[in-house]
């Protein structure tokens, strides 16, 4: 029996900010979930199951969100699952929810992810003082910067590429009312003049620390027929993992990432991603990851990703817009960031992205990764139901 087609019929986000002191974590997730239900014109009673994801426990100290948040998410008396895959968690959470619908286990599933970075310190959570181990010497960006330098060496990319990505994403964020950073006076010169924190990464090329939540309502074909607004249809979804460290690991283009993309494209019948995909929401925590992922995800040949960025192909008006929402560079509640990518891809093919809508977007890719390039999760969504 073929899988049940899965439709995204409701999407909700909070306005992402540095600190939401006015709400509890329950109040924060509730806000996103209520907006997703309102978008789908459904009530709590219409939801059959809840699938939730969040950042690693030490990032904010909430160890059992599925327990604490059941009341706020209307999950009492229903199945509630928690997914746990580091920074990619928002993507893998959505995929677990989608698979429950595809397998006809549940008809309508609420999925959401959140983080209140203001209530803790992610860097602390990543640098516990494990005895006998050499402490991490470089801070948050120090983990990523050597990989960026490796990419530059491998491809000969000019130094200016990173600032082009940051300038683009921050301008895109101005068109997204939910984005955290709204830098109205941003200029390319300001990005290039910002302090060099972890050479070759500048301050303006790093992601912010945000409080926020994102929720989606996923449903079956019958649910999509009743939906008040256009659905986004899941054409393919996959997850891959690999160790954080092993001999032969390629941090610039991890195999788990390219394998994951290839699986998604095979499911969706994509043979030429550059031509067949209209918009991409990819997880770019530091600006140089845009050209790196363009290659890893098959949008450019090895060594050529930066040329797309440099030529303006990835701008909102380019022929392969990347992160029209402003991306992780503009909004980063870590636990939710992957789901925001998935949700923004769905908004594009629904034609509901507002000012940052990519004209005529029919197919979009949502991409998430995390855990030191250990986990990858992606989905491809389309404006039409999948064939067959």
């Amino acid at each position: 029996m073929a899988k049940e087609p899965v439709a995204v019929v409701g999407i909700g986000q909070t306005k992402h900010v540095a600190a939401r002191h006015d709400v509890s974590i329950a109040g924060l997730v509730r806000e996103a979930a209520a907006r997703a239900l309102a978008d789908a014109e459904l009530t709590w009673a219409d939801i059959d199951a809840v699938v939730i994801g969040k950042a690693p426990d030490f990032f904010e100290g909430v160890m059992m969100p599925e327990l604490y948040l059941a009341d706020a998410l209307g999950a009492v008396g229903k199945p509630m699952l928690r997914v746990h895959t580091a920074g990619s968690v928002g993507g893998s959470t959505a995929l677990v929810a989608a698979n429950l619908v595809a397998a006809r286990v549940h008809r309508t599933v609420l999925t959401l992810a959140f983080e209140k970075q203001s209530e803790s310190n992610a860097m602390w959570g990543l640098s516990l003082p494990v005895p006998f181990q050499q402490p991490l010497l470089a801070g948050a960006g120090g983990f990523f910067a050597p990989h960026v330098r490796a990419y530059m060496r491998r491809t000969g990319a000019p130094d200016a590429i990173g600032s082009l990505v940051a300038y683009k994403d921050r301008r895109n964020a101005l068109k997204n009312p939910y984005a955290h950073l709204h830098e109205h006076d941003i200029t390319l010169e300001k990005v290039r003049a910002s302090p060099m924190l972890w050479d070759p990464i500048r301050y303006s090329e790093t992601c912010p620390s945000s409080d926020g939540a994102c929720a989606m309502v996923l449903t079956d074909r019958a649910g999509a027929d009743r939906a008040p607004r256009p659905a986004a249809w899941v054409h393919g979804g996959a997850m891959r993992s690999e160790p954080t460290l092993f001999a032969g690991k390629d941090f610039v283009s991890p195999r788990a990432g390219s394998d994951c993309a290839a699986d998604v494209y095979r499911q969706a019948g994509i043979t030429d991603p550059r031509r067949q995909i209209d918009a991409v929401e990819m997880y770019v925590p530091f600006s140089w990851y845009e050209p790196m992922w363009l290659e890893n995800l098959g949008f450019a040949a090895e060594g050529e990703g930066w040329k797309l960025t440099e030529a303006g192909v990835t701008e909102l008006g380019g022929d392969l817009p990347v992160n029209p929402s402003g991306g992780v560079l503009s909004t980063n509640p870590i636990g939710a960031s992957g789901m925001i990518r998935f949700a923004e891809a769905a908004l594009q093919v629904r034609g509901e992205a507002g000012e940052h809508q990519v004209d005529g977007a029919r197919r979009a890719l949502g991409h998430a990764y995390g855990g030191g390039a250990q986990f990858f999760a992606m989905w491809l969504v389309g404006a039409e139901p999948p064939a067959g």
């Binding site: 329950a26 009492v76 494990v130 010497l137 470089a138 330098r149």
Partner: protein, 320 residues
């Protein structure tokens, strides 16, 4: 080198503690501020039940709850367990009973401590009352504990309450602490014993022949135990790096400094270290380096240039 006998197991305490902050939202803010003012608040659900402590969302209907009520500081024990050896941070330092108390006017019970001389003095159904802390800040500890009360049960209708107080408490600090005993395991212990002699000893995968440094006892690619011990280095090659310009907390290193991936000669993957003995802006990929040990350090303090010609990119491009 063959596999050595298992060395003595290393152990050390690992304390994970952090002062997580919590924004309370309207309901928890009213509840905790109320405690500061010797007022216990509950919330009325859609079906009319009074929940104490109050919650923000109705467990039955998921509706947002806003109707706060004041309940009595007296109540009835619904169940209990004796705690003969209180730990640090628990409500009382002397043996006490953990109790669930249904306050007069409430339909649900609150978990707290009951100050009683012994388990024989505690029973389900006994009447108790709040003993308020002398200094109250807007926290659950504003109830110091419960104590036995001679009064009978009271059937009271809880009074509506706005939940408004002067100087509301809007956030709390939730100190979290986990105490572990950490043991690094046999492979890392062998590695650490080598480092104590200023030797870097990896372990080779019998299947793919890659040498893991630090060793973890198994090859993550092949899924087999790494058996042969192989000394690597001491010299190595900087494969990639960054220049750190911002001072990290808890690190006593002057910025800027270079944080590098270093492939020790013979190792199958790079480890991380600081580069010294050369101006930071002269470090480059391919630079040949050697460890510099401090007197008491378990690890090299940093690596410095050996003066050899730079390594060719092709020799280390798989080790970035």
């Amino acid at each position: 080198m063959s596999s050595a006998a298992p060395p003595e197991q290393l152990k050390a305490p690992l304390v994970v503690e952090f002062p997580f902050t919590r924004s309370l939202g309207p309901v928890q803010s009213a509840f905790l501020t109320g405690l500061r003012e010797r007022t216990v608040l509950g919330v009325r659900t859609g079906s009319g039940r009074i929940l104490v402590p109050p919650v923000e969302y109705d467990p039955e209907t998921a509706a947002e709850l806003t109707e706060l009520v004041r309940v009595e500081p007296t109540g009835t024990v619904t169940t209990w367990a004796w705690n003969p050896e209180p730990r640090t941070g628990q409500p009382l330092a002397t043996p006490f009973a953990w109790v669930l108390v249904r306050l007069d006017g409430a339909d649900t019970a609150l978990l707290h401590a009951l100050d009683a001389p012994g388990p024989d003095a505690v029973r389900t159904g006994m009447r108790v009352r709040v003993r308020w802390a002398a200094e109250r800040t807007g926290a659950i500890t504003d109830i110091a504990c419960f104590e036995p009360s001679g009064e009978g049960a009271r059937d009271v209708e809880p009074a509506p309450h706005t939940g408004e107080f002067d100087r509301p408490v809007t956030g709390i600090v939730a100190e979290a602490r986990l105490d572990y005993t950490y043991s690094p395991g046999r492979a890392q212990t062998r590695y650490l014993h080598g480092l104590a002699e200023r030797r870097t000893i990896g372990e080779r995968c019998p299947s793919c022949a890659k040498v893991y440094v630090p060793p973890r006892g198994a090859c993550p690619t092949c899924g087999v135990a790494t058996t042969d011990r192989v000394e690597v280095g001491p010299r190595g090659t900087v494969t990639t790096y960054c220049i750190v310009n911002i001072k990290a907390k808890n690190l006593d290193i002057e910025v800027p400094y270079v944080y590098a991936h270093i492939a020790l000669d013979g190792a199958g993957l790079a480890l991380h270290g600081r580069i010294g003995g050369i101006p930071y802006d002269q470090v480059r990929m391919g630079l040949r380096v050697e460890p510099v040990w401090s007197e008491d350090g378990r690890y090299p303090d940093h690596y410095r240039p050996t003066g050899e010609p730079d390594a060719d990119y092709d020799t280390y491009k798989e080790l970035l």
